[in-house]
């Protein structure tokens, strides 16, 4: 049985089912059912994966399936997962599941909304299971396009502008990416007889260094745009601010991770020599992202902007760690992706719920919400604490792994940059606490807020799912870290082979 393809098939079936529904009330039930099934599948996948590994299966990728698609170009539909993809799939299904419940009360064109949302999820799932560069790119594009509709139609504020900006910038990124991928493809075979898109096969050959020098920056930038790399991050604040709740969740929670994952799986894994040679440029850019995003967040007034800038900072940390190219830092990068995915989804869900009640997102128009809506407020505080790296929640595990890993780098330059990046934790604390203090604590400023209702059942499901995952990773990080760590070995071995330090 092809368990991986099911991750694409289930959403597609859900979409088909939604298409035939007459009653729009049932749409969300069907969506929730489909994505709940997906969540169960993800749990099953984690279980199967761990069982297989436990049984001594030490293949690089498990559950590999390969179907020839375009013979002339040797394009396959090839799927396979390692611990990293499994973790990302689990993250995605969690966030999508929570996202469905967070958008329970979408009224306008409900059917179309859920279809687009699940289509987006399909793209993301497909991306994570693919091991063929072409199908990977295909799913990547599939994930980006519905975003335009979701923001442009169901968004708020200057939604057309934001949707356009987001889509065009991401498309610009994928243009670079496509060139990079084709470059890899045409160098995937030493004697140009059997070109391939398959990652596993490409990783066995060494792409010539001159080609790497061209295609590594292209690929990395292409994914970097999606990962909000400075200075290509400006789509993120506008996009997030305009997007509806679930879309922000999915976008910041999962879609931005496509950037980090791709940078790591394609750019670094396939072209480690150039990565090693050019990493300093991107290290500088990413460390700017980290500090700059955090400072940018301090001065914002709109909750979503604050969170968007904090995402820039945190995702910068992901790319930063990936570029450090050692086991610990990369492990941290993956955990950070998952952790940030969960907590930023949590943040956006909560912001959406607050907005639904107060009809404002400006922090200085709110105040003292803790007394009125304690459940949501406490959840917000937990999300904030996770974001500023409180031990026992996922953010701490991720950040510490990154910092310790990055600081083990043998070159002084990298260690100094690491210290700069470390300083972001203080700035993070500043803006998080600022928001919490203004928003939740203190006396209730606006008398209209006195009788706001607290969370409804579907909101609770959404929030508790995410908080549970955040706390689980934070309290028992060992299994996740090990699952990712063992999957990193092929990459690390490849890097070590070229540069033993």
């Amino acid at each position: 049985m092809d368990i991986l393809s099911l991750f694409v098939v289930i959403p597609v079936l859900t979409i088909t089912a939604i298409l035939f529904l007459k009653d729009t009330r049932q749409v969300r039930l069907v969506s929730a059912f489909g994505m709940g099934l997906q969540l169960l599948m993800a749990a099953l996948l984690v279980f199967l994966y761990l069982t297989a590994r436990h049984a001594g299966n030490s293949d690089e990728m498990l559950f590999i399936r390969d179907y020839l698609w375009f013979k002339s170009l040797n394009i396959h539909y090839a799927v396979g997962v390692d611990g990293i993809s499994v973790a990302m799939i689990a993250l995605t299904s969690l966030v999508v599941f929570a996202g469905i419940f967070a958008s329970w009360e979408v009224e306008f064109l409900r059917k179309e909304f859920f279809i687009s949302l699940i289509l987006l999820a399909t793209g993301v799932f497909g991306f994570f299971i693919s091991i063929d560069l072409f199908t990977m790119f295909l799913f990547y594009e599939l994930a980006v396009i519905p975003m335009y509709l979701l923001i442009g139609i169901w968004g708020s504020g200057p939604k057309e502008y934001s949707a356009m900006k987001l889509t065009i910038m991401l498309m610009g990124g994928s243009a670079l990416l496509l060139v990079g991928l084709l470059g890899i493809y045409f160098n995937s075979s030493p004697d140009a007889t059997k070109l391939t898109f398959n990652i596993l096969e490409i990783s066995k050959v060494v792409i010539p260094l001159p080609a790497q020098r061209i295609f590594f920056p292209l690929t990395f930038l292409g994914f970097g745009v999606l990962g909000a790399l400075f200075p290509f991050h400006t789509w993120s604040p506008d996009g997030h601010a305009s997007a509806p709740t679930a879309v922000s969740m999915l976008h910041a929670g999962v879609l931005m991770k496509l950037g980090g994952y791709g940078a790591f799986r394609v750019a670094i894994f396939l072209m480690p020599e150039a990565a090693h040679e050019l990493s300093w440029i991107f290290i500088i850019l990413t460390s700017i992202s980290v500090v700059y995003g955090a400072f940018g967040a301090i001065a914002q007034k709109d909750l979503k902007y604050i969170n968007a800038y904090s995402s820039v900072s945190h995702c910068g940390l992901v790319l930063f760690a990936v570029l450090m190219m050692n086991q610990t830092a990369m492990n941290g990068a993956i955990i950070q992706m998952i952790s940030h995915g969960l907590m930023t989804a949590l943040f956006f869900a909560l912001i959406g719920m607050l907005y639904g009640r107060t009809h404002t997102r400006l922090i200085n128009e709110m105040g003292g919400l803790m007394k009125v809506i304690p459940f949501l407020s406490v959840c917000y505080v937990i999300a904030g604490l996770a974001s500023l790296g409180l031990p026992g929640l996922s953010g701490f595990v991720a950040e510490m792994t990154i910092f310790v890993g990055a600081f083990q780098h043998h070159e002084l330059f990298y260690r100094i940059v690491t210290i700069m990046a470390v300083s972001s934790i203080v700035i993070t604390a500043v803006y998080i606490l600022r928001v919490i203090a203004i928003l939740l604590l203190g006396p209730t400023t606006n008398e209209h807020f006195e009788h706001l209702p607290d969370a409804k059942w579907f909101e609770k499901i959404s929030v508790i799912t995410l908080i549970g995952a955040v706390a689980a990773i934070g309290l028992v990080p060992f299994w996740l870290s090990t699952m990712i760590g063992t999957s990193l070995h092929p990459i690390i071995n490849k890097i070590l082979a070229l540069n033993p330090f």
């Binding site: 900006k165 007394k371 031990p391 890993g405 690491t418 606490l433 203090a437 060992f478």
Partner: protein, 640 residues
Amino acid sequence: MINFSYTIWILILPFFMFLLLGLAGHKLFKAKLSGLLGTGGLGIITILSYITAYRYFFVTGKIEGAFQKITAVNITWLQFTDKLHIDMGVLLDPISVMMLVVITTVSLMVHIYSLGYMKGEKGFERFFSFLSLFSFSMLGLVLATNIFQMYIFWELVGVSSFLLIGFYYQKPSAVRASKKAFIVTRFADLGFLIGILILSFNTKTFDFITLTNPTGTAILQGTGIGFLGLSIMTWSMIFVFMGGVGKSAMFPFHIWLPDAMEGPTPVSALIHAATMVVAGVYLVARMFPIYAISAPVALHVVAYVGAFSSLFAAIIACTQTDIKRVLAYSTMSQIGMMMCALGVASYGGEEGLGYMASMFHLFTHAMFKALLFLGAGAIIHAVHSNYMTDMGGLRKYLPITHITFLIACLTIAGIPPFSAFFSKDEILTAAFHSNKILFGVEYAVAGLTAFYMFRLYFNIFWGKDTQYHHTPHEAPATMTIPLILLAIASLFTGFIPFNKLVTSDSKVLESGLEMMIAIPSVLIGLLGIGIAYVMYRKETSIPDRLATTFKYGYKWAYNKFYIDELYLFVTKKIIFRYIAQPVAWFDRHIVDGTMNAIATVTQVISFRIRGFQSGQLQKYAFVFITGVIMLAIFFIYLWK
């Protein structure tokens, strides 16, 4: 070897209480029951701690005359590399066992006290769940087997402090104070983290036993390499100490502590007097072999920072009128003394006196300072004001509080036979033998301490007869019993033979009272009390006249030397206005502006190009025909 693995329950139990009370407290139990549950849980932990202390000190015995470090439990929590991994475990050695006793004792007292003090408050179970969280994190901190575990619990302590200071979350001043406390300590923790990173990079280990083994190899790593004239090890230890400075409210990170008094008084007693704020001292003591052997310069930094802070705080304490703030500055001053004592010590033997003195003082201080705060709480409870100007003549109304408060004041003033007399004496002796300047400073601090404490005492219990809206009455038994117990502790803990139990190399340190030091220190204490008696026993005009005479000095001290304003200037003006806002502006207008400009340029160009598509059929035809003709010319005549 005796099995200590049960000690893990000392950590698990409070965490469980936290989850139970925090998640389900307001639904499952009545408020009172959750308070009792929390207190009961802590009672069990206290008993466990006492058993552990007894077994560690008196049953296990020594090897080669020294107490051994025992790793009771150690579970790998997160693996970084083969050598670097965060473990969660329990490390028993003299200082951790001593801290165990201190924390559980004070915490239990505070729990009992809170049952009365917090009665009827909204969020009663929340309060107890936070207290449990704090107990959990503090115990985890002192029992940490490795520096990263310590850092984890260090952060947790910080957050529980944040939650408890901001307990009255609808009070803007409490919110501000909690925010300030968290951010200031967080900044200091940044130093701690950097220190850990440097340290672990050099030594490739987090483990305390490996790190602090005076004969091991880890301790010698990075001592040679220089950076700005100091070795890498020194730098890392200075950074680590920065964390301690923040948590222990030493200068210049002390500004959060006075504000933290916005929290409920039991919290101030537990966290901001007895336990959490001494974490910095504990940290230095924990890393002491490294400081003493590999990074003596860092140790000097510790000594001078401690000494300066103690003097600085003592001066400010003389001018404050909010009784909790006086106590806060007194705490800062006393911790400064402990730091200073650590700083003048060195590893092993007679030279390690300062270490022992510091730990001793930490122990006694925890008891009497908790007593002072709880007493202050009882007074505030009775008077409903924090300001000593609203008080006076309270000895008639609050007899038990009065007696216990007096005992505490006498203790802190260093009058024999109260406990602090012994510990302070050891500190002064250690300072005297190592550095005369530091001795002078500490000596002056001892006098000032006696003065401001009795200023407080006389102002509250004697002085003018204030008219109260309703007659103050003694607190309920749940509040007075802890006071009495702590007063007894203050009386007798001075006789604990610390020199046999807690020393720098865990061996017995022979030391006794040096009359040369003891007599002058008692004398200056008495002098301070005398001055306070003259000035504040009755309502006189002396304080006002003094204040006008030393107008500027008084004003500066009263305004805490304007350090708060300086911080405010730096954070509000410089960081917010000159960094964050420009960054936000830069992002919106330069980075995003560039992106938008690219879009605009594209659009403008495309609008121009669009003009070609005029819809005028004949223009198209003209262009087409011209093109054909040109192509024809090209192909006929120019194409070879």
